[in-house]
């Protein structure tokens, strides 16, 4: 844990604004820390600006087609009368979730996606992961296969935590020996045995959502991924785990991977990301340094 910052960027900022409770820093020290953080970030961003692209999003449009919205597909009589009368499913409603997004992400970048609920952040990530087909006229290009970590429950709910770790590692393409080697590290990182020493032998459906999220993050982060996307997966963890996973994100970034983080916590975004993209109604509003975007987003949110 060599490059753990003494103080997190969000803490320094809060202290300067007088929002952090007690701290032992003088105003000059805080200003110095802040300057140091900004300088280091600028250096990292300058380095990343010329490194190899890992994700190219080119005029991405995503349209969800929802079949039979409105009238109930669930009602048996409705379905039957449709079959009898040979009418097609009544309505197909289109939701244009992402409207022409373009950006380039490069090695060593960590990018925060911010915006309100339903603005298209998660849809964008799903498209980068190759799970949603882009509309014609645009595309998503990636280096290797990005992994998407969402907040959904267990990977394989009826299997034990232990099996989930091994099988999850194998699914990511590790060999059996490699998976066994990584096992202890993953369990230690997830820390789920600290609260319940038998947790690993329980089926994952018995885990709390926080425990499951921790184990899943530990599995996915165990491998140095080229592109890792985290969709609010950290929100369910406790404070200690959040700090630890933010540290892991910084390590991944340092090992020349690209990390995307979706979060509603501006502190988490400021602490893990160098760059931020603000998405509103399926379009990019801002794509710049994390402080600049987070400041603008916070100011806009406060306007109500």
């Amino acid at each position: 844990m060599a490059d753990t910052p003494k103080v997190l960027p969000s803490q320094v900022l809060r202290a300067i604004q007088g929002k952090e409770g007690e701290h032992s820093y003088s105003e000059e020290e805080l200003a110095g820390l802040r300057a140091q953080i900004i300088e280091e970030r600028a250096k990292r961003r300058a380095e990343a600006a010329t490194s190899q692209p890992t994700v190219i999003v080119d005029n991405l449009n995503i349209i969800y087609r929802i079949h039979g919205a409105g009238t109930g597909r669930g009602s048996a009589t409705g379905a039957l009368s449709r079959i009898v009368s040979r009418r097609a499913a009544p309505t197909i409603r289109e939701v244009h979730a992402v409207r022409g997004i373009s950006f380039v992400a490069r090695r060593g970048e960590s990018i925060g996606l911010i915006g309100r609920n339903g603005s298209g952040k998660s849809t964008t990530l799903a498209a980068i992961a190759g799970l949603l087909p882009p509309e014609k006229g645009g595309g998503v290009y990636t280096d290797g296969q990005p992994s998407l970590l969402g907040i959904n429950a267990a990977l394989m709910p009826d299997l034990t935590g232990e099996r989930n770790v091994i099988v999850g590692c194998l699914a990511m393409g590790m060999s059996r020996v490699e998976a066994n080697d990584r096992y202890q590290g993953i369990v230690d990182f997830s820390r789920i045995q600290e609260t319940n020493p038998h947790a690993m032998s329980l089926p994952m459906k018995a885990y709390s959502s926080g425990m499951a999220a921790r184990l899943r993050f530990a599995i996915a982060a165990s491998r140095d991924q080229d592109v890792l996307m985290i969709d609010e997966a950290l929100a369910t963890g406790d404070a200690k785990f959040q700090a630890q996973s933010e540290q892991r994100i910084r390590e991944l970034r340092a090992s020349a991977g690209t990390v995307f983080v979706v979060s509603h916590s501006m502190a988490a975004i400021r602490d893990t990301c160098d760059r931020a993209i603000w998405i509103e109604a399926g379009r990019i509003l801002m794509d710049a340094d994390v402080d600049e975007v987070a400041d603008a987003y916070e100011a806009w949110s406060k306007q109500g």
């Binding site: 692209p53 890992t54 994700v55 190219i56 999003v57 080119d58 005029n59 373009s102 950006f103 380039v104 799903a126 498209a127 992961a129 190759g130 799970l131 949603l132 087909p133 595309g139 998503v140 290009y141 990636t142 280096d143 296969q145 990005p146 992994s147 998407l148 970590l149 969402g150 959904n152 429950a153 990977l155 394989m156 009826d158 299997l159 034990t160 099996r163 091994i166 099988v167 999850g168 194998l170 699914a171 990511m172 393409g173 060999s175 059996r176 089926p203 899943r216 996915a220 509103e280 509003l285 801002m286 794509d287 710049a288 600049e292 400041d295 603008a296 100011a299 806009w300 406060k302 306007q303």
Partner: protein
């Protein structure tokens, strides 16, 4: 961006654009650095190579699933043996005793056991295969691996069960007075071909099940009808050799893949009837016909296995990028 001035979304300057992207455009920039379209389906042979690379995942997943299968039951793994035994007991009671289908069939118990276990392998492979994609959406969305791993695993789980069942087959064969011969070994290649066939079927229904979720509801009825057409618990000859059955129907009944697999395995295990041990010629002929193996049976087994194994794989691969959507 001062807090006093307020922010009007419409007045924000356009977002910054990567200079290289602005210069080259997305497609050319992707080509320059060798980036590939995300989620695009790899060519068939590359896909097969990826699948081979994940073989440990396929076996690991199957073993883990198998272990958890009876974890809620008190008798636990004993059900691996109890399930097939109870299955056979029910069919023996209904078809052997109530409907007396055993008449004229040599070694009816062994005949029934082989039929039930082999068809059960196909049936459960298909039913679990049809759910293999739709039940694992979380896994599919979180990690990237060739999706064919899942239906193949589903078949492998059933193959492990078939292994337990074959132990019972051997016990029944010895208990009913069959003596082991070299022809028993021929069961192994037959089961290998059957596994390839079942894997292909599992991949076909997996793709169907991923699009049309009603497949899983419908499949038990389809497979049960199929089972009654395959001579699992009666001799096919008693239906096919009746007067007035068209030749085409007869061929279809005998060469129907599951029926053919069952017939071949039965002939490997059950000794051919000897005329001397039957009271009259009619009974002897019924016994011979009950085990009737059509011409070129092994060749057809090979054909069915390859046709459905390769066909199912290609059919599944064609929709690779669509699994996990929706």
């Amino acid at each position: 961006m001062s807090e006093t001035g307020g922010i009007v979304l419409e007045e924000l300057p356009p977002p910054a654009i990567d200079p290289e992207f602005a210069e080259l455009g997305g497609v050319a920039l992707a080509a320059k650095f060798g980036l590939k379209q995300s989620g695009k389906r790899p060519p068939l042979f590359e896909y097969a190579a990826q699948l081979w690379q994940r073989r440990h995942f396929i076996t690991g997943y199957a073993t883990a699933k198998n272990r958890s299968l009876y974890s809620n039951a008190r008798l636990g793994q004993l059900w691996q043996l109890l399930t097939p035994i109870l299955n056979v007991a029910v069919y023996y009671f209904v078809f052997g005793i109530l409907f007396t289908q055993s008449k004229g069939v040599p070694d009816f118990l062994l005949f029934l056991v082989v039929g039930v276990f082999l068809f059960n392998f196909l049936q459960t492979s298909m039913i679990n295969g049809s759910r293999s994609i739709s039940d694992q959406l979380v896994l599919i969305r979180a990690l990237h691996f060739p999706r064919a791993c899942l239906p193949i695993s589903a078949t492998l789980i059933q193959l492990q069960q078939l292994g337990f069942s074959m132990v019972i087959v051997v016990i029944v064969a010895l208990a009913t007075g069959q003596t082991p011969t070299l022809s028993w070994l021929a069961v192994i290649p037959a089961l290998v071909l059957l596994s390839v066939f079942c894997t292909g079927m599992a991949m076909i229904v997996a793709r169907m099940g991923s699009v049309l979720t009603d497949t899983a509801q419908l499949l038990p009825f389809i497979s049960r009808t199929w089972m009654y057409l395959c001579g699992v618990m009666y001799s096919l000859a008693s239906v096919a050799d009746k007067a007035g059955v068209p030749h085409v129907v007869k061929l279809m009944l005998y060469y129907d893949p599951p029926a053919l697999f069952i017939t071949v395995v039965r002939n490997c295990l059950i000794k051919a009837p000897v005329a001397a041990s039957y009271p009259n010629a009619a009974d002897f002929h019924a016994a011979v016909n009950a085990l009737h193996q059509p011409a070129y049976a092994w060749l057809f087994l090979l054909f069915w296995a390859l046709a459905f194994g390769v066909g199912g794989f290609v059919y599944f691969w064609k929709a690779e990028e669509q699994y996990g959507r929706g």
